[in-house]
Symmetry: C2
């Protein structure tokens, strides 16, 4: 692990800083009413960019494949697009989603609940492409480098992440060049990016430029320092990998502009939302109408595709005027259930605490 300052934790009474606001103004979540769409329209897909969105000319773009391999190569975009083509419908979520709800609050991109979206990604499978380069004995990881460049806690870097050689050769990752049937937009990694189904967003390296096979585990900043579950500043911690189960509901009724508090007209209310997990299919969504005091099973919509969100619905007879707190929580086929309390960690990763939606019935 290279030297870097530890991530900062806000003091107990510390409000949002201008640094956090600056990130929130650049990056953006998916407004939760967009949970209505099976496929998130492009401009509503959540977006986290570590540095600047680079200006990559697709005509000059090349993907270099090298390192500890027998047959290094360089591909143009046309050569990539001429390879076998697959399309996957996948839910992507930022590993930091829910960070700004943690107490105390880790200081970084201050997501609340909305850093999740679902798109159709089209590209070519990674595994056969890498196999053609013939990794040599002793290969342990594949390191993916993006074209975005910056500093983070004192470390200057191109954005880089690694997969184990087993995952890269045996998994279902794609090198994607289309999103929702059109060429990748600049902000989503044009002209090509990595897609690792089921993993949090940090694995899906955008503006992909290089794939290098290594004989040592990669210890770059984003792998060994940033995306870890840690409690103490010096602890190596556990790596952030697959998306934990989560359910979100479309906030019912209509909002107040400033507080986003909801007003619901009394009567039958059709609650609906989505649930997903990067570990396994969603098998259960429960809804609480009393702030988590009691739970009832929601109706699950059809399964779509592994690692794509699944719709759910519940009828609520809103016959009690006044304030209510609605919650939803998901369970996946591994048995993982969303926690009601917080699973705090220093980097604010993987916070899948249940959503709470305050509404006033009139």
């Amino acid at each position: 692990m290279r030297s870097s300052e530890a991530a900062r934790i806000a003091a107990s009474d510390e409000a949002i800083s201008v640094d956090e606001l600056r990130l929130a103004a650049r990056n953006h979540g998916m407004p939760l009413e967009a949970l209505r769409y099976d496929i998130t329209p492009v401009g509503m897909h959540y977006l986290l960019t570590h540095y600047d969105i680079p200006d990559v000319d697709p005509g000059r773009w090349r993907l270099t494949i090298g390192g500890h391999v027998t047959a290094p190569s360089t591909l143009t975009l046309a050569e990539l697009a001429a390879r076998p083509r697959v399309t996957r419908t996948l839910t992507l979520e930022c590993a930091g989603n829910g960070r700004a709800r943690l107490l105390p609050r880790p200081i970084s991109q201050p997501w609340l609940d909305e850093a999740v979206s679902t798109a159709r990604w089209t590209g070519t499978p990674l595994a056969p492409l890498l196999a053609e380069a013939r990794p040599l004995d002793g290969a342990v990881e594949a390191v993916f480098t993006g074209a975005d460049h910056g500093t983070e806690r004192g470390v200057e870097q191109d954005y880089q992440r690694a997969l184990s050689i087993t995952e890269a050769l045996g998994g279902d990752a794609l090198i994607a060049y289309e999103m929702n049937g059109a060429p990748l937009p600049p902000q989503h990694g044009a002209p090509a990016r990595l897609i690792v189904p089921g993993w949090y967003g940090m694995a899906h390296v955008k503006w992909l430029s290089d794939l290098t096979v290594t004989t040592e585990p990669f210890n770059g900043f984003q792998q060994a320092t940033a995306y870890r579950f840690t409690q103490e500043p010096d602890e190596p911690g556990e790596p952030v990998t697959r998306i934990r189960p989560r359910a979100l509901m479309i906030p019912p009724g209509f909002p107040d502009f400033m507080t986003r508090r909801r007003v619901v007209d009394g009567g039958e209310v059709h609650l609906r939302g989505r649930a997903w997990s990067g570990h396994a299919p969603i098998v259960r969504v429960e809804v609480s109408l009393d702030g988590g005091g009691s739970w009832a099973d929601a109706h699950l919509g059809p399964e779509v595709e592994l690692y794509a969100w699944r719709s759910w619905t519940m009828r609520w007879l809103a016959d009690q005027p006044g304030d209510h707190e609605l919650c939803a929580r998901a369970t996946d086929a591994t048995g993982q259930v969303q926690p009601v309390g917080q699973a705090w960690n220093r980097q604010g990763m993987g916070n899948n605490t249940v959503q709470r939606v305050a509404v006033t019935v009139r």
Copy 2:
């Protein structure tokens, strides 16, 4: 003016609130590196939504035209699209851009500098459509209603704004149904919205559903309360209308993730950006390399179209290692120049104070 609480102003030591963060996570600015594009890619176009993005079925959508007219009518989307078609390249900016830089800070959507973008809007001219309805003697305003519904400072409303009948019949407003050559995306007002060239964003009513001609000035919340230049809570103030001149530069070099502070490699640096005004063409952009102490004229790119941003460039010989503050300011053909200090108002509207970009040359 209907009763409502006054807008709140932050205390001098008050940091960003969770209410402001919640708005910043939903709405989003244009990352300033996107000033490189003549036309902002759709997903990077800034976005402010007062309430929820409504779910409007284009097949069932109708635009009703009525009120103080001889010939009220109802149009389908196909009927609207069959009318004369024009495309305009236009810069749109949120009236609240720069709000979070004001001291003290008005509490609302906390924009820094980035709530501006340029798109190609295609639609049919408003003036002949309204003329065909034949407004009667005594018509004073045209009120435009959108499908988004919510409360704001205690006032429940569909989003509504008015234009004077003179502006509506004599101006160059459009009812737009395409953005950058494709149907409007949901978040930008699908299936049709108002576009008022040169005006701040509040005038461009999204999810347009109704146009009503009135015999009295419209005193709805967004017209008489929200979008005003005021100093005191009870003052009626002046209406917010056209976009004030502004120049922005692409921050040079590369950023730190958290602070966005820039590092620039010493040598010749190609500074560039855009400038615009909703009053008149841009005639001058000046750049300061010493935090506003001295100014030099930038080179202006070609004029594009009235109310579309104009590119500008300047070579900077960055031969002094250390910290620098870069600024840019625009002048339009009416003689308006951006102020170096702030023009404070209670709602945080029209803050076109010069941009300041802190960089470290190495």
